[in-house]
């Protein structure tokens, strides 16, 4: 799958509390959560972003809570992909499980600046910077995770297994 979008760039240790503050966790409606996406980090984010835009960040993106509302909010806001140096492990699992594309590439994070336009090939792990005419290779996913991603997340993967067993 190929995605194209403009970059919003943030720093290290973007935690789940700034991605979706707990004051909004009395709902799990993705649309409602999306309206508060990144609110405590960048209060204008949801107004200025366009559908398909890409978040680029430093180390340990999504650290903190296990709240799946964090990747859900980002996905429902219309972000197509997150590229970071590294992801906190629960966020990493959650993103794969719900089918929010994520990629790890230090080279990409170092080279990309806010506003760059990217074209991302998820299957190849290839990130093209259309603004700078550069290419970066993301870290490949282990085989099992590729299967999960190809199935569209954990629930779809399990549904297939359940129906195969019937």
């Amino acid at each position: 799958m190929k995605l194209t979008g403009d970059v919003w760039k943030y720093g290290d240790d973007i935690d789940t509390d700034v991605i979706i503050p707990a004051r909004y966790l009395n709902t799990s409606d993705p649309e409602e959560l999306a309206g508060h996406c990144l609110e405590d980090l960048d209060s204008e984010f949801t107004e200025k972003m366009n559908q398909g835009d890409i978040i680029v960040a430093g180390d340990n993106f999504g650290c903190g809570s296990s709240r799946e509302h964090a990747p859900l909010a980002i996905k429902a806001a219309g972000v197509s992909c997150i590229i970071a140096n590294s992801f906190a492990r629960i966020f990493y699992r959650n993103a794969i499980n719900i089918g929010l594309p994520i990629m790890e590439s230090k080279e990409a994070v170092n080279s990309i600046t806010e506003g760059d336009r990217l074209s991302v090939d998820l299957d190849q792990g290839l990130i093209k910077n259309l603004t700078r005419a550069e290419e970066y290779q993301a870290k490949p996913f282990p085989e099992f995770m590729q299967e999960l991603i190809a199935s569209g997340g954990l629930i779809n993967y399990l549904k297939k297994q359940v129906s195969n067993n019937d």
């Binding site: 009395n26 405590d40 903190g64 809570s65 099992f144 549904k159």
Partner: protein
């Protein structure tokens, strides 16, 4: 080559004799946990899978503890959905208001946590159970749903970082200070994707309460789990709470570690983590002129009886400063009751504390102690991210219960030495 604790636990649950870091295994689960924020999403996902029943009615624990007692109409709807799901599926370990507690204080107390188990929880502080030599780890709602349906989860076998604590602790220094010091040293991603293993003579000398505080905050260094090998202290805690049908796993002497880090903590002072990351730690002697508006004592990190006792020891016969709000949250009903029997609640109330029924409320800025813009709190909780306890322009400082109690008296962050 020997194996580490986490490798042994994962091998035993995936039908393997040995395995290597980096491998992905499908492991059997001993317990699947969820709270009132994460479970409603898990129920929705569970219903999509296409199975009728949960994998084992006795191996799921549902604890509405975050926005409870229900803080608003939406939260009431969330807990209602859990209550109905628990009844419909016959889940035995559902804990209603009045018998519940903060999940990671409650489950060990209820005898649901045993050495050698694998426990996934849709709550990041599920790593608390590492204090019992169990692989407890936080997951999201979808993993919780899959776990409830299949009784299994996939894990990447982590490398292990071994932390060795030597020396003798100074007065007023506790498990909280050891883990804050560790996070201050390695950073909030210092153990990312890795297991943390806490060992050494200092760990051996600690109570289960202190050990749980340490394991609880492994996630604040990015750790997958925070393991402590079971010993007599563990077995004494478990006696009378669990059957002895568990298996104890400890690391082999020739196990391979990603890294070994030794701390001599004889000179370690109480630690304070400054906003807005748990890694921003300073020794209490270097903390000056930080007035506080609110003091929170409690949570899954420091809401156990030992913590309440230590806070009461500092507050006994004293008053909180006039401009400070002092909030105390015993972790469970049992802890609350025991604190009453011991006269601790009276000491706290006489000192000007508001003592609450167990809830996670203020720790995550949910309810029962939300901060306004510009306000500062010192708290025995686990996170001090931007907006964690309320307004994005408020600040949270993390510390142990004695420092929090002392700061309530002084009206600014101080060492217990200055008030006792």
């Amino acid at each position: 080559m020997g194996m580490t604790m986490v490798e042994k636990i994962l091998a035993a649950h995936s039908g393997r004799d040995s395995l290597e870091p980096g491998e992905i295994v499908n492991a059997k689960l001993d317990l699947v946990l969820g709270n009132d924020i994460t479970t409603p999403v898990a129920i929705e996902e569970f219903e999509k899978i296409g199975v009728e029943e949960v994998f084992d009615k006795d191996k799921i624990a549902l604890v509405p503890d975050h926005f409870t007692p229900n803080k608003d109409i939406n939260s009431a709807g969330q807990t209602k959905s859990i209550r109905e799901f628990a009844a419909e599926k016959g889940i035995t370990n559902y804990f209603e208001i009045g018998e519940m507690g903060i999940e990671h204080c409650l489950l060990p107390e209820q005898g649901l946590v045993k050495p050698g188990q694998i426990i996934i929880g849709a709550d990041s502080h599920t790593c608390t159970y590492g204090a019992f030599g169990a692989l407890g780890t936080g997951v999201g709602s979808t993993d919780m749903a899959a776990g409830m349906a299949t009784g299994e989860a996939w894990f990447k076998v982590p490398e292990t970082i071994k932390f060795v604590f030597t020396g003798k602790l100074q007065p007023w220094v506790s498990g909280k200070d050891l883990i804050l010091h560790t996070i201050g040293d390695i950073g909030v991603d210092g153990a990312l994707y890795r297991a943390m293993e806490f060992t050494g003579e200092v760990i051996d000398s600690l109570s289960m309460a202190d050990r749980m505080t340490i394991s609880n905050m492994a996630i604040e260094a990015g750790g997958k789990c925070g393991l402590i090998a079971p010993d007599q202290t563990t077995f004494d805690y478990l006696a009378g709470r669990v059957d002895d049908d568990y298996q104890v796993f400890t690391s082999d002497a020739d196990a391979s570690y990603y890294k070994e880090i030794e701390y001599n903590v004889s000179e370690l002072e109480p630690q304070v983590a400054f906003p807005h990351l748990p890694e921003n730690t300073r020794p209490i002697s270097q903390v000056k002129d930080i007035p506080v508006d609110q003091v929170v004592i409690g949570s899954c990190t420091n809401g156990r009886l030992k913590d309440i006792r230590e806070a009461a020891q500092v507050l006994k016969g004293k008053k909180k400063a006039a401009n400070v709000r002092l909030l105390v949250f015993p972790g469970t009903q049992e802890i609350y009751k025991q604190a009453m029997h011991e006269g601790l609640i009276e000491i706290l109330i006489d000192a000007g504390a508001a003592v609450s029924t167990p809830t996670c409320g203020p720790c995550l800025g949910g309810h029962m102690g939300v901060l306004a813009a510009g306000e500062k709190a010192i708290s025995t909780t686990n996170r001090n991210f931007v907006g964690r306890m309320g307004h994005p322009e408020s600040e949270v400082y993390l510390a142990n219960p004695t420092v929090a109690a002392a700061s309530a008296i002084a009206g600014e962050i101080v060492s217990p030495e200055e008030v006792v």
